[in-house]
């Protein structure tokens, strides 16, 4: 079976536990985001799934192969796109693709036709004979993906794929990922610290301090907070929070000079709190929830990038 199954996965560095008994399943053909701030453990998880480091406990199966017992089996199923490209910058795109294919035992006509197909699919045909370091960041990322596609992996793992890309290259990258899933049924798993990027995935796992705090489709995750978010900026957070709790039956949170609460009637409550506590309320804001709000409500702390 394809996809990824993780159960009770643990990783420690010295006496610091970076992954706490993580359970997670990625379905075959899914676009899946691992969202978390720095230090959340997402990169550690990425490195375990790509067989670069071994876990200290629990299991992880990638494409039906166990990462510890059968890492070379896993390696035949995955394509890995690193944050800092694994391309040789001094070589041409074609040379990089050739060597990349050779690592999977590809050669001759087969390799040539796959290079042609992969470069066409990623619009690199014109760039094949250019030295990698002369390409733009977006082109380099596409070349890296092309290299991964040569072996026709079932699962594509990407570490912070949009880092260093300008907005148009990000959109471009996203189009590529969606097409890969549609045309090849590929499973795409990427790590990210960007909310808007993660919100485009089929499902999102939110990690914080090595623990999975939520895992669902973005729509479902957003529903967990409530339809609207009320934010009150104030100098007396305790007083505002008490008012929202006692008078409006909400469960507010105090986060860095701001009181937040999820509600279905944010505008009316904003008016009430402003009227009742006029001297201490600096401003009120009503918005639709984002994944950041999901993170805030689950952890009680801000999502630091």
């Amino acid at each position: 079976m394809s996809g990824i199954r993780i159960s009770r996965l643990e990783k420690r560095y010295g006496d610091r536990t970076v992954l706490h008994e993580l359970d997670l399943t990625v379905q075959s053909g899914e676009i899946f985001a691992l969202l978390g701030p720095n230090g959340s453990g997402k990169t550690t998880l990425f490195r375990i799934l790509s067989t670069l480091i071994a876990p200290d406990g629990g299991q992880a199966e990638v494409g039906g192969c166990d990462v510890v017992r059968d890492p070379s089996g896993v390696r035949t199923k995955i394509g890995v796109v690193f944050q800092s490209p694994s391309l040789d910058k001094k070589l041409t795109v074609r040379e990089n693709l050739k060597y990349g294919g050779a690592l999977h035992g590809l050669h001759g006509e087969e390799l040539r036709s796959r290079i042609k197909a992969a470069s066409a699919s990623l619009r690199l045909d014109e760039k094949l004979d250019e030295i990698v370091e002369t390409l733009s960041g977006g082109q380099q990322r596409r070349a890296e993906i092309a290299k991964c596609l040569l072996a026709r992996p079932e699962i594509l793992l990407l570490d912070e794929p949009s880092t260093g890309l300008d907005p148009s290259a990000r959109i471009d990258l996203w189009t590529v990922l969606v097409r890969l899933r549609e045309e090849h049924g590929m499973t795409v798993v990427f790590t990210s610290h960007l909310m808007d990027e993660s919100a485009k995935a089929d499902r999102v796992a939110i990690l914080n301090a090595g623990r999975l705090i939520a895992c669902d489709s973005p729509e479902q995750l957003l529903q967990t907070t409530g339809p609207e978010i009320l934010r009150v900026a104030t100098r007396e957070e305790e007083r505002v929070a008490k008012f929202l709790n006692d008078e409006c039956a909400l469960s507010p949170q105090i986060i860095e000079g701001e009181v937040r609460a999820a509600t279905s009637d944010a505008h009316a409550i904003a008016a009430r709190v402003t009227t009742a506590l006029a001297p201490v309320v600096l401003s009120t804001t009503v918005s639709k929830p984002t994944l950041e709000d999901v993170f805030l409500f689950q952890t009680g702390c801000r999502f630091h990038e």
Partner: protein, 260 residues
């Protein structure tokens, strides 16, 4: 379960090293220039006061020629292996480590690349041999070529063993100055090793690089220095040195990969 590849990845890694090297002219010059400057200046400076055991009248430039060849191979091997450090963290090697490649292929490809470059550079330097009165007896050419290969291989091995566990290139330079250069210095490359009981003599006899230098020296004409290990012993020890550095490198990669 064996679904890993060996030959094609090895050859790809080898080919990549050679292409990269040829594309970066400054590396070719860099690995040749320092030993060349040493050879010219030390040759000119020491020749008047130099006398090699058993070879009266031999110039220092002639004596130092095989040593310079080994230094060129050491430098070339270092240049080729030092790239492992950055490559593994944020470059080409990351992609190799997540591909179904047997760990032996990573070691073999890199050794093959380093050896090719080292031997190539050594042959290039041989153009200067006539200036030191050194000839190439045709009967000894196969031995010379074999010596180059074995020395190039073992030097790449030393570089690999230092580079693989390293996190920074600064660490590599420290080890190079503290370990690799002294190994070369006390090998009969720079000065004839003292005969009989002496600390330097013993260090030299235990130093595997000594045997590589001796093999190359005795494969060249005009190098009648006495007190060297014979060619069979010199080649034999150098071969074992190759096997040792290769085995140790393989073990390092295997341990790092934790591959099943």
């Amino acid at each position: 379960m064996n679904n890993t590849h060996f030959w094609r990845p090895s050859l790809a890694l080898w080919h990549r090293d050679v292409v990269r090297f040829l594309r970066q002219r400054n590396r070719i010059i860099g690995a040749l220039a320092t030993p060349l400057v040493f050879w010219v200046l030390l040759g000119a400076g020491f020749t008047p006061s130099f006398s090699a055991p058993g070879a009266a009248g031999m110039s220092y430039a002639a004596y130092f020629f095989p040593g310079t060849l080994v230094l060129i191979m050491l430098f070339t091997a270092i240049f080729s292996t030092i790239s492992i450090i950055e490559d593994r963290r944020e470059g080409f090697l990351q992609g190799v480590l997540v591909a179904p490649v047997s760990p032996g292929a990573i070691v073999f490809g890199k050794f093959l690349g380093g050896t090719t470059l080292a031997v190539g550079q050594a042959i290039l330097f041989c153009v200067l041999a006539p200036f030191a009165g050194i000839s190439f007896p045709p009967a000894l050419l196969p031995t010379l070529f074999l010596s180059f290969i074995l020395v190039g291989f073992s030097m790449t091995g030393l570089g690999f063993l230092v580079a693989w566990p390293m996190d920074s290139t600064q660490g590599f330079h420290a080890i190079m100055n503290i370990v690799l250069m002294p190994l070369w210095m006390v090998s009969g490359a720079l000065f004839p090793l003292p005969q009989g009981n002496s600390i330097i003599g013993w260090i030299g006899a235990l130093n595997p690089v000594t045997y590589g230098v001796a093999a190359i020296r005795q494969s060249l004409g005009g190098q009648a220095v006495s007190g060297l290990p014979g060619i069979p012993l010199a080649l034999g020890v150098t071969f074992l040195f190759c096997v040792g550095t290769y085995a140790a490198s393989y073990w390092l990669v295997l341990r790092k990969r934790k591959i099943a």
